[in-house]
Amino acid sequence: MPQHFVNLPGATTLPTRQYQLTGQIIGDLIAELATGVVHGPAGTGKTYAVQAALERLRASAAPGTASPPDQVSVCTLAFPSKPTMRLVADELLTALTGAAAPRSRNRFHLIAALTDLLSGLRRLIVIDEAQRLNGDCIELIRHLHDHPHTRFALLYVGGDGCWEVLSREPMLASRVFRRLPFTRLDRPAVPALMRRYHPVYHGADEQLLLEIEDAYGKGMLRNWAVFTHAAVGMCGTAGTDRITAEVAGNVYAKLGGGIR
């Protein structure tokens, strides 16, 4: 499984609806070699869910397993802020070949090489932080994806503003085969989820958990991970294995007074 945020020991994966849908959506995209978007606010578990689904995919294709006949190669990319079309092409070529793209190649030959590479094995290209792409970069990826010879599924994963950026491009609007918005956790469901999330919350009072949710969690799994990491340390210091109101208060102090 992928590492939790802050490498939290003892934490389990929460099988939220979005988490389960992510695996199904990736399967659908690969089956149809289509385009999908997973987006939502930062800290809602998008990247974790995608990584977990990709790991399951890799495990199913590993040697010695009863893998499907048409295996899929996964390639994950993330670009810095304001990437150029050339940078996207270079990074993609590097990810596919393992070697840096020669600087002498012009745009035409670079794209021809990418088309060639993407025309063999079925692939899944995952582009993280997709909100950083501009229209030119999306045009390039669209060109590669629409080419009749290429065979790859495309998954855009992005945080705040991702869907707004992607949906501005008409070329993507008609191509999104699956879209999964990640949202904050439902407040009433938080206590039950957190009791499954980590042993430190086993048997914790519902009111206390809702108070933590209101004060720090805010429906964000990343916030809960940070809080839990601090709470586990505090519980060890206090000699308890369950969270209490006192421990929670100390954690608030350690995390900036609970101001989020």
Partner: protein
């Protein structure tokens, strides 16, 4: 010219143009490289649209001639519809160049306009910056689908060799009888009609041809041998779909010729384990398809002609533009055309003269025969493309069909063609027999199979010029009989 309103950049439109087919269907889909604003890059895109590999132009050192060759291949494939995806991203120069190419090829231009910007507006009857002065009709995607439907799926031809039984190895006098004896009724019923039809065709062709022998000495004329080779290549044996069919046809032709005291012998021994498979023509649809990926039109046409005739390019320089049919279906070298002198080969030409090789003589006879060289339908585009290239270069009917690229008027094209054919053959994995020297006539590298220097000899065929019983090859002269010395009584 049509501008297709695809403001929503519908995925269905992309799927439709992907299903529109390629140059073989008379369509070319040009997908401009994203972000490229120069005309040269669009020229390379045009080459890709006419089924050339992206690196082809650079590999063949013609990157600067992408538009010229792209234009020629559009004409060669008779492309009637040119579709440009994402046309709204083209610059004015790019659009103008593409429109001019489509217009010269006589193709309808379809511009897929993937944005709502600049397509419709007050006083705007179409894309404002594209193809100035040309009337453009804006149509919807639905109309586009209706007017330019997807290409039909390619027909899959059954493997015809599987339909043929193993044929007896009997020579032509007893071939049909052996078939009748060894083959079941239904299989003989497959062989016999083809045999009789071919024999009748051979009779008709011989009647049409007239006198094959020289009245002075009764020998078969060299012209007849050339004409027979051409007829076998283009009509009788070469077009056979598979080896067994070619073998049946060969046996029928041999029998028909024998009636007229003409012996066409076949020596299958040197042809490898499946000699019948060597009989059909070399210019197959597979080879033509591989050659169609060549960017240089002269390299594609010369290699195709070389494979079809089984000749080197020694005499290709004699071809003129007027010799090639406009549709690429035939090439006629007039009998009056003077045979070119060859250094070191032709008496009187410069260089050390040794002996006129028989192979050279036969090559010329097969090329300058009375009947035109018929080009298989699958390969005609290769010849029309080069014809279009030469016409675009300003050449007229009496100019050479194959010209030196840098000095068309002054230098012969032969050496240049030889290099181009070698490079093309190496790229597509074609082993042309003439590329090997005489010393490796039975090259061990390809399985001890024969490499001849003419269409007949490549197939182990030989025409006895002097008739049966007179040809020294068919009937080797016997040694002088001599009695054992114990009979003559001479001392040992």
């Amino acid at each position: 010219m049509y501008v297709v309103d695809n403001a929503g950049d519908d995925l269905a439109a992309v799927r439709h143009i992907n299903a529109c087919g390629g140059p073989a269907d008379g369509r070319a889909v040009l997908r401009p490289t994203p972000g490229a604003r120069d005309v040269d890059t669009l020229g390379w895109d045009l080459l890709v649209a006419v089924a050339k590999p992206p690196h082809g132009a650079r590999r063949e050192h013609v990157s600067g001639l992408s538009w010229e060759y792209g234009q020629s291949w559009l004409a060669g494939f008779a492309v009637s519809h040119m579709i440009i995806d994402r046309a709204h991203l083209l610059t004015r120069d790019q659009a103008g160049k593409a429109a001019a190419a489509a217009a010269r090829a006589g193709a309808t231009l379809w511009l897929l306009w993937g944005t709502a910007t600049g397509l419709r507006g007050p006083g705007c009857g179409g894309p404002p910056h594209l193809v100035a002065g040309q009337p453009a009709q804006v149509i919807s995607l639905w109309e586009f689908y209706q007017r330019l439907p997807a290409a039909p799926p390619p027909a899959t031809e059954p493997d015809q060799e599987d339909d043929w039984p193993p044929l007896p190895a009997a020579d032509f006098p007893t071939f049909l009888a052996a078939c009748r004896r060894y083959l079941p009724r239904d299989q003989f019923a497959q062989v016999a009609p083809l045999y009789y039809d071919t024999a009748e065709a051979a009779d008709a062709w011989l009647e049409t041809y007239g006198a094959p022998r020289d009245p002075r000495d009764g020998q078969l004329t060299a012209a007849f041998e050339g004409a027979l080779a051409g007829w076998l290549r283009d009509s009788a044996i070469g077009p056979a779909p598979c080896g067994p069919a070619a073998l049946v046809r060969l046996r029928a032709v041999q029998a028909a010729l024998f009636i007229r005291a003409i012996v066409l012998s076949w020596q299958p021994g040197p042809l490898g384990p499946d000699p019948a498979s060597r009989l059909p023509g070399n210019l197959t649809p597979q080879l033509a398809g591989a050659l169609a990926t060549t960017v240089r039109t002269d390299a594609a046409a010369a290699t195709a002609l070389s494979a079809h005739l089984n000749h080197g390019p020694a005499f290709f320089g004699t071809l003129q533009i007027g010799d090639v049919a406009p549709d690429g279906s035939a090439i006629r070298v007039p009998a009056s055309r003077g045979r070119p002198d060859r250094r070191g080969i032709t008496p009187g030409a410069d260089g050390p003269y040794d002996q006129m090789p028989e192979a050279d003589e036969r090559t010329w006879r097969e090329m300058a025969a009375a009947e035109p060289i018929r080009i298989p339908a699958c390969a005609r585009a290769l010849f029309t493309a080069h014809l279009a290239y030469r016409h675009a270069s300003g050449a007229t009917g009496t100019d050479p069909y194959f010209a030196h690229p840098r000095d068309p008027a002054g230098k012969p094209a032969t050496q240049n063609l030889r290099g181009a054919i070698r490079a093309t053959a190496q790229r597509i994995g074609l082993d042309l027999p003439w590329m090997h020297g005489d010393s490796c006539q039975y090259g061990a590298d390809i399985g001890l199979t024969r490499r001849g220097h003419s269409w007949l000899s490549e197939r182990g065929l030989r025409l006895a010029r002097t008739g049966p019983g007179q040809d020294p090859i068919l009937t080797p002269p016997r040694g002088k009989p001599c009695r054992p010395r114990w009979i003559t009584g001479e001392p040992p």
